[in-house]
Symmetry: C2
Amino acid sequence: MASQSSRPALKSSPAPTTADLRRDNLGRVLRLVHEDGAMTRAAITERLGLARGTVGVLLDMLVRGGLLVERSPELPGTRGRPSPVFDTVPTGATVLAVDLAVEGFRLAVVGLGGRVLSRHEWPWDPAASTEQSVATLVERLRGAARRRTAAPYQAVGVACWGIVRGRDGFVHLAPNLGWRDVALGALLSDGLGAGRAGAGGLVQHVVVANDADLGAVAEYRRGAGAGARRLLYVHSDVGVGGGIVHEGTVLGASGGYAGEIGHMTVDPRGVRCRCGAVGCWETEVDERALLRAAGVPDPPEPASLAGAVAGVLEDARAGRPAAVEAVRIVSTALGTGLASLVHILGPDRIVLGGYLADLYALSPVPTRRVLQERGFSAEARDVPILPASRRADASFLGAAEYALEPLLSDPAAVLRPR
Amino acid sequence: MASQSSRPALKSSPAPTTADLRRDNLGRVLRLVHEDGAMTRAAITERLGLARGTVGVLLDMLVRGGLLVERSPELPGTRGRPSPVFDTVPTGATVLAVDLAVEGFRLAVVGLGGRVLSRHEWPWDPAASTEQSVATLVERLRGAARRRTAAPYQAVGVACWGIVRGRDGFVHLAPNLGWRDVALGALLSDGLGAGRAGAGGLVQHVVVANDADLGAVAEYRRGAGAGARRLLYVHSDVGVGGGIVHEGTVLGASGGYAGEIGHMTVDPRGVRCRCGAVGCWETEVDERALLRAAGVPDPPEPASLAGAVAGVLEDARAGRPAAVEAVRIVSTALGTGLASLVHILGPDRIVLGGYLADLYALSPVPTRRVLQERGFSAEARDVPILPASRRADASFLGAAEYALEPLLSDPAAVLRPR
């Protein structure tokens, strides 16, 4: 009791009932296997600190509900007869994970346990209005959902690059798509009959979230952020987005907006940002900032941007002075913003996604130097910076974690005959 | 289940046992009365959703343990015989709350329920080394603690203006005191025998925390921040400190450093900060920034600073142009930094402490204008900004909340005969 570690739990909360406990325990078992993969009954019992008999009952419910399966372990060369393990049934609960990209929308079907089951991609119709684009999205999702209605749980998770209200998935601004004030969460929920099981409802749950928040969750749960207590995830291609996982909670996910780290002011005499303000951090560190610093003209087609950026990085790797200098300038600006965020948020790990992973791999020194100069503590000066490890799938995996949440919190509600 | 509101609980946790539940429920009852004040048995039963009989048993334990008392309510003119209420016994659990100020250290004895029972103040010996100053502090606290050993629970909470590691109360830097790398948490715990009940231990718990974090807790629990979901507390006199209460949790309190919002970079060609870096936000918004903007020389004595600042604010109120312009400049810089923090953190309320409360009351428009210009959503543009309401006692009340936490989490451990 003498330790400092306790911190105020600043809210009184109602006491849980026995029914709450049973529901929570069912969710705990499912969440454990979903997160950490197949394990034996003994391992589950030990990890959760529950009675062996209780775990048996819960596992039986989850197996009968089609969410878990009992199978022999994949351990070659084990002596004796190995204990069977319980694993997730990927098709037992599926998420239609959507990534709204500039060129079109990508769809992945992600199963329980974070397994990507299939992928699809459709281009946007350039002539379509926002309303028409959303209607097309709804239609595609209805089609995909109809093919999978046998699963006990089906949900939709949408990653949107832009300013998204956590509470209801309202998209205030998605600059890459040109969308403004679109009630995407509500439109998708209506279109797919979310929560209207047995009354034409195709899915139980729809969630729309900021792409960087989802990337942060994916890296935290299944990538380079695993085990961090206070993870700062910074993603950039066009623009900069951030996701903050603080002690297991995504900052701002419960409502409102947060993580718009690209728009902190770093220079009152800086460049005008596409948000309208002057001197936002992203004007100094995103892909366009690198091209500008290198004197490379901004390509007219957004699709060619990545190639132009790769060219600058390649030139820098080859030692061409203009590119080397551009990389140094942008890496320093990266360090300045990261130092501010370290001051404000105190992360114990930073994960860089998008082109920043490549930039930092090529040139870590200017970034680290700023942190050394500005950090107040060894923790701040030496905070580990890692490249994102789930770059291709981060949005999908993060969207799946969000969309599976109601199931993981209360599997009994799903297992009940509908 | 169709709503968007669920968010990932990103960690699997062990299941609670029946003993955990009983302990938690005892804490819930005590916390409720501590936070919300005297209430009837029926009100407690309803608020916590527990069985009436259970609440009776818990209340009985807390009354017998000397933490709660049953008394008649203070309701004049109520008809019939009013139900008795349960209230905290302020002397049942006391915190020696310490505020380490420039001139000396202030001590308040704060009782359960957040009641300030007494106040004391001692000047520092200007000739003393840091070690000697800490030793004096320990001696004073030992004396104060010895006078109160009859209480079932006694703890120490220290507010330190500076960079404090949440995990163990290690003070990396307390610039106003000139302290650097002082293991204050450990030194106080050792000196007071924290947790060594019956073996010379005078207190159960010692906690050292950043002053702004404690101010945030005080405002959140008992002040202008009550009811906020994501509270940003910004305090300034010399320097700027911040505390962030996000969904009931203090950011960074559990370990590491956070909330050093005064040192985010706002201008690469700005003023050199006392931290050594250039262009920190606090160089544009703290008391010295206001004096500099007004052309008033920095007084040599730190104690005269507040008077000089009050003079500038008075001049501005009287319409003297230099002071009006200084207030406009600093208020604008306040807005710029707040806008960045709103982007990053998405607060639904901002509370201003220290001289910023007076500055904003005098001149809200420049600050609000920046938020209007830079905010991405109505929530961000119109985020409420309030003056701190517990300015004199914020550090004490916050320190008390931290130091009472072990008791509120597990009263049974205290009620057990020692």
